[in-house]
């Protein structure tokens, strides 16, 4: 008997369009706005000032500080969760376009609310634990994954002074807490007592720890260039303009950027490295036996990690939140001298946050684009790529950077030459790419290009 689906809507009612657009604009605005308001407040001196202004006894200082931290941590966690929801929607839309199909289009304008529908569906599903599974470990695995993901948000710099805590070991901290995710994956694979899950879990562990090596070694390049491990310190060592970014300032950094990006893709189990859950060979890998919201937590982390990896790459190589033509030190100086009005200070923070978010979203888009363009690699190819190409390349970059940094201390001008040179090459390549895309569209659609269906 054929199933009768309701026909697709001819045109979306104006109310639904308005609600969708309001939600799409409002969610980031609300979260980022609250982060913008709360993060600078989180200094003991500021809290003291606020309390004395409000006429509250200073003994409330510690509880107020802890409460503010709780709210901020909850915000960051929700930001990660909701962003990963939005990115699942965007990924399905992009996939639809790339594969000449429609993609989600029912829940809200352009199907935007599909991620909320998914979350509700997952909440209403039965939570199954297989009979022979190790019940305790099976139940515990998602918590490892979620904490490993959420803890990275504490040091991600969203803007000029918008970071929960700027650890002096920032980058090192990020590489260490993301290792919790692989612990969770290995536990889930082992505890499921299913052959598919075990193969998936072991593959995931081998993949993630292998790619940790090129990722870790290529991170030395920006660290050596900045001379600090702090995330904010690394951004401050760069500038707002492309030739002031680390990626172009040193030929080895350009290679290290690609090495790090590839290794991060593999660590986040993204195509072309999604072997642990290769559906054509392993059913769903370590996720095979999970259902309901435990399954959803794994997926939340998987998509949220796209944001994390893009934010890390942006911080280390692409200048982070640095705004062109205005240096962060200049603003700090004005602020220190007390000549900067408070509103301008907030505005500066907001603009720096917008710059960081725009760069990160551009990289997220690249990650999605790669997934629907490249085929999956084989296990031996994946291991070979890591150990035979990326690890030697990362070592070569690192040794070259040592030499380069000592050369820079003698002749500082070579950084500028390299930066401008690579920026020019990048711009030329981008123009050629855009022309090629334009030609391809013209070949299909003729002179009159119609983008209304995109």
């Amino acid at each position: 008997m054929p199933v009768n689906y309701s026909p697709p809507p001819k045109s979306t009612p104006k109310v639904i369009v308005a609600v969708t657009l309001a939600a799409a604009a409002g969610i980031p605005f609300l979260f980022l706005g609250l982060v913008l308001l709360l993060t600078p407040v989180l200094k003991p001196a500021t809290i003291d000032g606020l309390l004395s202004n409000a006429g509250i006894d200073p003994s409330w200082r510690t509880p107020a500080y802890v409460a503010a931290l709780f709210v901020l941590a909850l915000l960051m966690m929700n930001y990660g969760a909701i962003f990963s929801g939005v990115i699942t929607w965007w990924e399905r839309r992009v996939a639809g376009r790339i594969q000449s199909r429609i993609g989600p289009n029912r829940a809200g304008f352009g199907g935007f609310f599909i991620f909320i529908a998914d979350a509700v569906k997952m909440l209403l599903k039965e939570d199954l634990v297989p009979a022979d599974a190790d019940a305790l470990l099976f139940r515990a695995a998602p918590y490892f994954v979620v904490t490993g993901f959420a803890l990275t948000f504490v040091v991600l710099p969203f803007g000029h002074s918008l970071v929960v805590t700027d650890l002096n070991v920032g980058v090192f901290y990020v590489t260490s807490v993301t290792a919790l995710v692989v612990v969770g994956i290995l536990i889930s694979g082992w505890a499921s007592n299913s052959k598919w899950a075990l193969f998936g879990g072991v593959r995931a562990a081998a993949q993630v720890i292998s790619y940790e090596i090129p990722a870790g070694v290529s991170i030395f390049v920006p660290i050596a260039m900045a001379g600090t491990l702090s995330m904010q310190g690394i951004i401050r060592a760069q500038g707002g303009l492309p030739w002031e970014w680390f990626v172009f300032r040193n030929p080895a950094a350009l290679i290290a950027f690609f090495v790090l990006f590839t290794s991060q893709l593999a660590e986040a189990n993204r195509t072309p490295f999604d072997l642990p859950e290769a559906e054509s060979e392993l059913v769903a890998g370590y996720l095979s036996e999970y259902s309901g919201f435990r399954f959803a937590l794994f997926f939340l982390v998987e998509w949220g990690n796209i944001w994390v990896l893009s934010a890390i790459v942006t911080t280390l190589f692409l200048g982070g939140w640095q705004i062109p033509f205005v240096s962060a030190e200049y603003i700090d100086g004005l602020r220190g001298a007390g000549v900067l009005p408070s509103l301008a200070w907030w505005g500066w923070n907001a603009v720096s946050m917008a710059v960081f978010t725009a760069k990160t979203i551009a990289l997220c888009n690249l990650v999605i684009w790669l997934r629907w363009t490249l085929p999956r690699v084989r296990v031996d190819q994946m291991m070979g790529l890591c150990w035979k190409y990326l690890v030697p390349a990362a070592f070569a970059c690192f040794v070259f950077t040592l030499f380069w940094e000592l050369a820079v201390s003698v002749a500082p001008r070579i950084e500028l030459v390299s930066g401008v040179g690579f920026t020019v090459i990048a711009v030329v390549l981008a123009v050629l790419f855009a022309r090629r895309v334009h030609q391809n569209i013209q070949a299909v659609q003729g002179e009159k290009i119609d983008l209304s269906n995109w």
């Binding site: 989180l42 931290l69 709780f70 941590a73 966690m77 909440l123 209403l124 039965e126 939570d127 199954l128 634990v129 009979a131 599974a133 998602p142 918590y143 979620v146 904490t147 993901f149 959420a150 803890l151 504490v154 805590t165 700027d166 650890l167 002096n168 090192f172 499921s192 007592n193 299913s194 052959k195 598919w196 899950a197 072991v202 562990a205 081998a206 720890i209 292998s210 090596i213 870790g216 070694v217 030395f220 660290i223 001379g227 059913v283 095979s288 036996e289 309901g292 919201f293 435990r294 937590l297 031996d380 070979g384 150990w387 690890v391 030697p392 070592f395 040794v399 040592l402 000592l406 201390s409």
Partner: protein, 122 residues
């Protein structure tokens, strides 16, 4: 900022992440149905009855990868502080670290030659 103040937010984030995950899983347990059956509780094996235990032996290659990882990751821990102090250490630090990296690359070449990086089973 004392070290305690710098690291305190991590503890809070840890608690919040765990609590939120527990809350969501708890809500799902309350909202979802609960109709257990023997078929649902069986491990998935493409529809047929599961054969033997799932806790099987797996390729020794994965242990090799883990061993390699330990060697190279411990090396990374040594290099982090050095990379921060690169400019202060100057040429002597450069030569020492280049030598260290060189010994590691010799190790990698040896492992490569021995075939530990080949994942194909033969």
């Amino acid at each position: 900022m004392t070290p305690l103040q710098t690291y305190f937010p991590l503890a809070i984030a840890f608690i919040v992440a765990g609590a939120l995950a527990a809350l969501l899983v708890g809500a799902a347990a309350l909202l979802g149905p609960r109709r257990p059956s023997a078929v649902k509780a069986a491990p998935f094996e493409c529809g047929s009855d599961p054969i033997g235990s799932a806790r099987e032996r797996f390729g020794v290659k994965f242990y090799m990868v883990a061993l390699l990882f330990i060697v190279f990751d411990v090396e990374a821990v040594f290099v982090y502080p050095w990379a921060v102090l690169l400019r202060d250490l100057g040429w002597s630090g450069y030569i020492a670290m280049a030598f260290f990296a060189f010994t590691l690359v010799i190790g990698l070449a040896y492992v490569w030659k021995k075939g530990a990086l080949e994942m194909e089973t033969d």
